[in-house]
């Protein structure tokens, strides 16, 4: 099933704007850190996919991901990490925490679209 509503979690306004342009065919919900993203999940039951940055203020992407995967209500939502942290151990840690895919910034638009369509 194609995702229709995507939660974008990133502290960069530039990235939010980029997703607005790139993912016009989807409904986007915006959060700027992990805490805000948890609130969005609590209030919006239709989220099909989460695009997640790692380095964010207040609550990091990995902390958020850990909480999401520990919650039965949200653990089935696929999470794609999109981060500048590009070392192999970063990728492994992200996938072991429960991410469905790991994309390194700067990313190619086609690469992101393919991952979203695949999930």
């Amino acid at each position: 099933m194609q995702p229709r509503k995507i939660l974008v979690v990133d502290d960069s306004k530039l990235i939010h704007k980029m997703f607005e342009v790139l993912l016009r065919q989807y409904t986007l919900v915006h959060a700027h850190d992990g805490l805000e993203a948890l609130r969005c999940l609590g209030t919006d039951a239709d989220i099909d996919l989460i695009l997640l940055d790692i380095n964010m203020p207040r609550m990091s992407g990995l902390e958020f991901l850990t909480q999401v995967k520990a919650d039965a209500a949200f653990r089935e939502i696929p999470v794609v990490i999109i981060s500048t942290e590009g070392k192999e151990e970063d990728t492994i840690r992200g996938l072991e925490t429960g991410a469905a895919a790991y994309i390194k910034k700067p990313f190619g638009n086609q690469e992101l679209l393919e991952v979203i369509q695949r999930l």
Binding site: S12, K13, L14, M18, V21, L22, T84, G86, P106
Partner: protein, 238 residues
């Protein structure tokens, strides 16, 4: 029926069968000839279609790359001019450097009025810099690529034997060179600057400084306006 009559009848049947077989052979030969004549044309046609398909695939990939580059430029320009808050403009420049160019270490140097030095207005990853060029938040000169970009306003790409700088992007406000964005290191997973990155560097050269200066001028004007309003209120109150 006599035996002779039976033989004559059989002979004519055999002859008919022979004639039919001969005609069949002739038809087969004719068909084979036509097929072999058509086959090269069909093969050529298939090859042409295959070539067209490959060319279209290559053009599609190129168009997708071009679209991605244009989208990055649009988003970067939009965000640079979306605010008149100097802090937000600086944050946008940093986001362009990190998220779009893949810069792990960089510095934004702005000329100080009446001084040869530049202030380090913004930086990332300079905490452990060993060069000493950016000590105490000031750049006094010393890197040939940065000094060259500041002198003539031409983008410099490195690194070179005498400089670790990957890109020194001169920042212009109208004709004046007011600073330089220095990219010192890319992320390990981003090996080199690509063709699309050059467009982004040119965009930064043209837009980053003007956006930053417009925001600073606005902030100064706004502060002065508030001060004047306070003074007017004070005078009216007394």
């Amino acid at each position: 029926m006599t035996p002779k009559m039976r033989t004559e009848g059989s002979d004519s049947t055999v002859d008919e069968i022979r004639q039919t077989l001969d005609r069949a052979r002739a038809l087969i030969a004719q068909l084979e000839g036509e097929q072999s004549a058509q086959s090269p044309a069909a093969d050529n046609h298939v090859q042409t279609i295959e070539r067209d398909r490959e060319e279209l695939s290559a053009r599609l990939v190129e168009a997708e790359h071009q679209l991605g580059r244009l989208m990055n430029l649009y988003v970067a320009t939009f965000q640079l001019h979306a605010t008149l808050d100097p802090v937000e403009v600086q944050a946008t420049i940093a986001e362009i450097a990190v998220d779009l160019l893949g810069a792990e270490r960089f510095a934004l140097l702005l000329r100080v009025e009446g001084d040869e030095a530049c202030e380090v207005a913004l930086s990332k990853g300079l905490e452990n810099d060993l060069s000493g060029l950016y000590a105490r938040g000031r750049y006094q000169g010393g890197d040939p690529l940065i000094d060259g970009a500041l002198a003539d306003g031409v983008l410099r790409l490195g690194p070179s034997d005498t400089s670790e700088v990957i890109a020194a992007v001169p920042l212009r406000v109208q004709e004046a060179i007011v600073g330089v964005l220095v990219v010192l290191k890319l992320f390990d997973h981003k090996a080199i600057l690509r063709a699309g990155d050059r467009d982004l560097l040119d965009l930064l050269a043209a837009h980053a400084a003007s956006a930053l200066f417009a925001a600073r001028v606005y902030a100064n004007t706004d502060r002065k306006l508030r001060t004047l309003e306070s003074l007017v209120q004070l005078v009216r109150g007394t």
